[in-house]
């Protein structure tokens, strides 16, 4: 075990996969000479050269589509899209092409492509640079979408994504890059499609992913002192979604709150709530609640930005409301 940052975990994983497999190459804007907008790829151009670490012009549809085609011929491109907001420029190639080919061509070809991209607001980047659009991709059959919350999961899930033969979107988060955590040394391959109970509890389940999981864990530890036992389920994988783990937790705790950074309507939490009411209806003591972003284009001004994004205080408040609704005695 070594304590490293989420950024370092991603960097080290890219490096070890480049060393392990010659068919792996990195492609994206400013990942080489500039070393990445968020410095995930720092030093890799020097070590691996410009064909393994390929800088591109600004043309998301062009270079994501090129990665799709290279993957069709057996390469394993790892695309960096500078932020998930810019993935919209490439959505035709991701959704209409990368995600379709294996099924649409009768299993004759696969697309072992990874798209790494950070989402998230809170950096005063305003409306066009602060979105959480992962659900757009999590909606699409043929895609796999993972959302690591910790440095260890970043390593495990990025490794799994690179070795997977399907297109995988790895959702990173601007606010997580500097967070630190223990990461196992040596090879660590995560399992796409599995959620994890990252903190056991008995009174209420908080379901979260990516940055929200970190907040949920903080809140759970804080409430522990007040005598409330919160279980935290980290989704890790948005597609496939591990409904069984979510429902098993809620059957135990009888209460569920979803914490998510995306917008409320039609968001990840809507899918979780529907899953819980179907899979744990008889066990529920209160309606499932969702704590999600306010439905506005995220404003620049700090007080407005803070008001729009879900935070620990919002989660604590909603947990309190759910417990009170069921006359939970603290």
């Amino acid at each position: 075990m070594t304590e490293i940052s989420y950024r370092q975990a991603l960097h080290d994983t890219l490096r070890s996969e480049l060393l392990r497999d010659e068919s792996v190459f990195l492609i994206g804007e400013e990942i080489g000479v500039f070393e990445g907008s968020y410095k995930i790829t720092a030093g890799l151009l020097t070590e691996f050269g410009p064909t393994r670490v390929r800088d591109t012009p600004i043309c998301e549809e062009g270079f994501v589509g090129a990665a799709v085609g290279a993957a069709m011929l057996g390469m394993r491109p790892v695309v960096e899209i500078m932020t998930i907001n810019f993935s919209l420029l490439a959505i035709d190639q991701i959704v209409n092409h990368g995600a379709k080919m294996h099924a649409m061509f009768g299993g004759q070809v696969s697309v072992p492509m990874v798209i790494r991209t950070p989402g998230g607001g809170g950096q005063q980047l305003a409306a066009t640079h602060s979105q959480n659009l992962e659900v757009w991709y999590a909606h699409v059959p043929g895609m796999k979408v993972v959302a690591p919350a910790t440095p260890a999961d970043a390593k495990a899930l990025l490794t799994a994504a690179i070795r997977d033969d399907d297109p995988v979107l790895v959702l990173e988060n601007l606010a997580l890059y500097n967070t630190k955590g223990e990461v196992p040394d040596g090879e660590l391959v995560g399992e796409i499609g599995r959620a994890a109970v990252v903190k056991p509890g008995t009174d209420l389940t908080v379901i979260a992913y990516s940055r929200a999981t970190v907040i949920a864990l903080d809140v759970a530890r804080q409430l522990e002192a007040d005598g409330v036992s919160v279980e935290v389920v980290d989704l890790r994988s948005l597609r496939p979604l591990d409904r069984e783990t979510i429902c098993a937790s809620v059957r135990k705790t009888s209460r569920a709150v979803v914490l998510e950074d995306d917008w409320l309507s039609y968001g990840v939490g809507a899918e979780i709530a529907a899953t819980v009411q179907e899979g744990a209806f008889d066990y529920l003591d209160a309606p499932v609640r969702r704590v999600a972003a306010a439905e506005v284009p995220l404003p620049y001004a700090k007080p407005l930005e803070l008001a729009a994004l879900p935070d620990a205080a919002d989660l604590v408040k909603v947990i309190g409301e759910v417990l009170d609704a069921t006359r939970f005695a603290r």
């Binding site: 390469m75 649409m104 070809v109 599995r194």
Partner: protein, 360 residues
């Protein structure tokens, strides 16, 4: 039917009325392919009207010389990406007519196992890497395939290359320009071929492109462009071969425009009322299939009996293709999730409509 790639020295006796180096056998082979594409497409249209074929169905009628010329230029080791107007290319690339027709019929024996239909023909072995239903959607992946080739080996006469076909309408999308820029910047072994049939659905080229000389649209990327008569199978073949050679040996991507005329509507269901009767009549006189047939008859490469036999054989191949498709099993609903993922994954959502999402 496999496209013929190159000619042997034994073939190279002079044939009157054709450029030096054309063998009678090769020329007859081209006509055989053009005749097959014509027969297949007319039958596909008929099968569509008889509801054997669903969805969209875009035909290569009028583009047969372009189809056969391009596929003659392409080596078996090369990769092909096409638009949704892909039946003829699949046949001339060497895919069997039966499984192609079966794909149109949505049968499990189809070239894409009935998953893709008319617009999405695919064959790994023939390196036919797909027809693509989204206009220009194939252009970035084709460019990426060429990028993958640069990791496999260096340039040279035996190197692999990619041919990416697109329609005239696709030259206006952003992905076309992004891809040409990348190909030129990275010196990728790819030839983009604009199959200009004069119309993007109902819109003529000069109403859609501010530079209607489409072969010039690569100049922003310093990419060599050339226009060729798409009704001339030999001119198409030679231009494509030269462009592919540059892509192979010099890693210089190219842009080729083959101009022909779509003899029918955009798809089977389009009566093309936006065209005048006079224009439709004029286009018929330009039909490349009878024109090439006549040329072979006039130069004595075929006599009327041989030509008729070739046409009859094409009909027989298509008859057999229809019988094969008709007799093939439908895919079973139990196979619905068969190709959901290439790498199996836990918790993959394999529910049918109305199934519970969580096991109780």
């Amino acid at each position: 039917m496999q496209a013929q790639h190159g000619t042997t020295s034994a073939d190279r006796q002079q044939v009157d009325g054709f450029p030096p180096g054309e063998s009678a056998q090769t020329l007859r082979g081209y006509y055989r392919q053009m005749s097959l594409v014509r027969a297949f497409e007319l039958r596909a249209s008929e099968m569509y009207q008889r509801a054997k074929v669903g969805g969209y169905c875009h035909l290569n009628l009028g583009e047969e010389a372009t189809v056969v010329g391009l596929m003659a230029a392409l080596a078996p080791r090369d990769y092909l990406f096409t638009s949704y107007r892909d039946h003829g290319y699949a046949l001339a690339r060497g895919l069997e007519a039966g499984p192609v027709m079966a794909e149109l019929f949505g049968k499990s024996t189809g070239v894409s196992s009935g998953r893709g239909g008319s617009m999405h023909l695919f064959d790994t072995g023939r390196r036919m890497l797909g027809g693509y239903g989204i206009v220009g959607g194939q252009i970035p992946p084709a460019t990426g395939a060429a990028l993958a080739l640069t990791y496999r080996g260096g340039p040279g006469p035996e190197a692999e290359a990619v041919m990416c076909l697109l329609g005239d309408g696709a030259t206006n999308i952003g992905a076309f320009h992004e891809s040409l820029n990348l190909a030129a910047l990275w010196r990728l072994p790819i030839v983009y071929v604009i199959v200009n049939n004069g119309m993007g659905m109902g819109t003529p080229v000069d109403k859609a492109s501010a530079e209607p000389d489409l072969y010039k649209r690569g100049c922003s990327y310093r990419m060599a462009g050339e226009r060729v008569d798409g009704d001339d199978v030999l001119a198409v073949r030679d231009a494509a071969r030269a462009a592919l050679d540059r892509a192979r040996t010099e890693r210089r991507p190219g842009l080729l425009e083959a101009v022909s005329y779509r003899l029918r509507g955009h798809s089977v269901v389009d009566p093309a009322r936006y065209r005048s009767k006079e224009e439709t009549e004029r286009l018929r006189t330009l039909d490349p299939v009878p024109a090439f047939r006549l040329r072979l008859l006039e130069t004595g490469i075929l006599d009327e009996d041989e030509a008729r036999r070739i046409d009859e054989q094409a009909e027989e191949v298509v008859d057999a293709a229809v019988a094969f498709a008709d007799g093939s099993p439908d895919p079973h609903p139990g196979q619905l999730f068969e190709h959901a993922y290439a790498t199996p994954v836990p918790n993959a959502p394999y529910q049918l409509p109305g199934d519970p999402v969580v096991a109780s």
